[in-house]
Symmetry: C2
Subunit: 122 residues, 2 copies
DNA sequence: CTATCATTTCGTTAAATGCAGAAATAACAA
DNA sequence: TTGTTATTTCTGCATTTAACGAAATGATAG
């Protein structure tokens, strides 16, 4: 029962749900990406990601100074299926999708992550 | 997205989750049954049931002075499947199951609902 | 109609939660 | 080392929400 509770609590907040949906559509996001996406302070984003992480919904990986978050591999497929279809019905904010893609694009550009993972500057 | 939010909010509260799990195991419950089950005031229970109802998780039927709640018929089976298996893993409070059965038994006894739906007293 | 019972709505209080800024931590660059 | 950047933790404030009691509503019994 505890896992249902923590997962429901985690997804029962608009910003966290938006991040989770974004991660269903994107490989990975770091805290600052999510900060740009939601327009929230890093501290707030970090807390949200922590809650999603503790619920087992996302996984984290530290690379250099960045912490990258991605979908959890052990998330129940029925849960995902339900979310996917519900979002389909509701109409997932198309703006969100575009926004995330743009953020990821800029992130990759400035980081040159694609080549060797080396950073230049912000 | 709104439906995911409202459902997650509804299930993201311990008492409401307990009621929902109880309704997955029981045909129907009225507000006073749930009040006995959770040990909460009728007003509080009514509010919880309203939130579950608005999320589309349960349905209500008024019979006489009582309002009976039961599982929603349109609840996504994937959501139910996830909940069922998660509860199985977590171990659903066995006390809750017993408690509900006892409450339903007493309710039926005092109401004589089984025969003709006629009420005697409390 | 009046009385009673089940439920809902309203008003208030206490606890939980989201938020930002400041300080602390971690990892790299010079 | 020192400085810079990304993230986390801590502290305080504002909003939300769960809880109760009281009053209002709905329905039956007398």
């Amino acid at each position: 029962m505890e896992s249902i509770l923590s997962i429901s609590k985690a997804l029962g907040e608009k910003n966290r749900l938006r991040v989770f949906l974004a991660l269903m559509d994107t490989e990975e996001l770091c805290v600052c990406d999510v900060g740009d996406f939601l327009g929230l302070a890093p501290a707030t984003v970090s807390r949200h990601m922590s809650i999603l992480h503790q619920a087992g919904l996302i996984e984290s990986e530290k690379r250099g100074r960045w912490v990258y978050y991605r979908m959890g591999t052990a998330v129940d497929p029925r849960l995902l299926g339900w979310i996917r279809s519900s979002v389909g019905n509701d109409g997932f904010p198309a703006q969100d999708r575009e926004k995330i893609r743009e953020i990821v694009r800029l992130h990759r550009e400035s980081c040159l992550c694609d080549s060797g993972g080396r950073k230049t500057t912000v």
